[in-house]
Amino acid sequence: MKALCWHGKQDIRCDEVPDPKIEHPRDAIVKVTSCAICGSDLHLYDGFMPGMESGDIMGHEFMGEVVEVGSENKKLKVGDRVVVPFTICCGECDQCRRGYFSVCERSNRNKSVGDKVFGHTTAGLFGYTHLTGGYAGGQAEYVRVPYADVAPVKVPSNLTDEQVLFLGDIFPTGWQAVVQCDIEPTDTVAIWGCGPVGQFCIRSAVMLGARQVIAIDRVPERLAMARAGGATTIDFETESVVERLNDLTGGKGPEKCIDAVGLEAHATATLDSMYDRAKQAVMLETDRPHVLREMMYVCRPAGVLSVPGVYGGVLDKIPFGMAMNKSLTIRTGQTHVNRWTDDLLKRIEEGQIDPTFVITHRASLADGPELYKTFRDKHDGCVKVVLQP
């Protein structure tokens, strides 16, 4: 089959690889009908995440048709149409039983590595380094889904792939980021980053009733899309983010701040980002946490910082004294996708939201390598790429 494979920094190729096989009775094989390139795939593309090996199949946003099921899988049958959440979960461990699917204790088959690196393992993820299991991803014609009797979400035939594809990651990720802010009707929510997750944060904040939603970015088309979704926008290249946020909140700062940027904050916009980039280049720091610093500074005391943006390792010069003295609550984490999928699927079916708004590029799998670059460079108005194998 064909698959997009990682071969090194900025080197993704569409390769011919062996078809996946059932390896465990709970597995299923899914024929991928649509998949997407996620912003967090770019951290792999740019070489910021450790644990990748040449030939690893990329991709953790995908859906398709079940073509084979293991003997113990009672949930799925051949022909089912499913969206597969990016977090692999067993459904039985302590964490899964509590709903913390993204920190499943059993699905990371490289658990010992996870334990060493993170203290305790997190869940296995599709196409996302050998720290999280080294599972083949979904930017491929077929994919093996472990524990396929737990996470895959069956979707009705009256909805198109593009309407439901993002239930596997970016829609629940944006939703959880806002839900864990516990929105009050009087809240101002500030969202850093108007990429795909940021766009879903904006829509989720509006749907959950925030009084004011403010979105921060520098790319004109992304800011336009943010405004279309109901946000007031700040272009950080031409305006002071702190001054504008204070102006928009009567000098008090936003109650809820969301970091939808993560470890690759724009490297030349601020002095601290340039400092981070220089330290990152000589391997004295792994991430560029400008957004975290700015959120801690501008957030209203007793406010909440929610961090769906992906961080990978060691961050420098975090003003934690500021966070502590301001009584800030910090909520983080990969998304516990299955906590939200039923509710969000219902909202899509009811027409409350149409997730296709975010798609700007559609292409074949073979065009994937070029579109990684287009997406990374934000060229050609690229916000979200959907690939059809």
Partner: protein, 178 residues
């Protein structure tokens, strides 16, 4: 015209640029912190200040190469720096005939590095595209069936799980307010 089929891949060009970036840092540090030893060896005594300035330039270029995702301009900057270094070596003799051989060797080394810089700059230029800045009509991509203000709060019926509720002790008295 560049033969794209023979150009190194983006990752190869990037790896070469990073290697040259580290080389720039090392050379720059030597020029900045040990100018006397360097000028003595290549017969440029009395020009320590100039060598230190070159060192500062090398360090700046090194950091640039190690931090950018588009290394071509920095690599062409290195090529320009190489030309300056060659001119300095050619013109800056302190009259020491004993060091003429060493200076010749230094010039040969700089010429070799220049060739590598030119090759890397050509390769990187071949893998980079000019950045387009167009605007797109995304201002109608609401994602909602109605205007956002009419959709505000439509999901207030969503249940916020207990473990994601705002800690009670931090919840504003009287239901909040700004």
């Amino acid at each position: 015209m560049l033969d794209r089929t023979r150009m190194p891949s983006a990752s190869t060009a990037h790896a070469l640029a990073r290697g040259l970036g580290w080389f720039s840092l090392a050379l720059g540090a030597a020029e900045l912190f040990a100018p006397r030893a360097l000028t003595r060896r290549i017969g440029l005594r009395g020009q320590e200040g100039l060598v230190q300035a070159c060192g500062a330039r090398e360090i700046t270029t090194g950091i640039g190469l190690l931090t950018t995702s588009q290394p071509a301009p920095w690599l062409w900057g290195r090529v320009a720096g190489d030309v300056l270094d060659l001119a300095t070596l050619a013109a800056g003799s302190d009259g020491s005939s004993r060091r003429r051989g060493a200076r010749g060797l230094a010039m040969a080394a700089v010429l070799g590095v220049t060739a590598l810089d030119v090759a890397a700059a050509l390769a990187a230029s071949g893998t980079e595209r000019p950045r387009r800045r167009l605007t797109y009509g995304y201002d109608r991509r609401r994602g909602f069936r109605d205007l956002p203000d009419r959709m505000r709060g439509i999901a207030r019926d969503a249940v916020v799980p207990k473990d994601m509720r705002f800690p009670e002790k931090l919840r504003p008295w009287g239901g909040g307010g700004s």
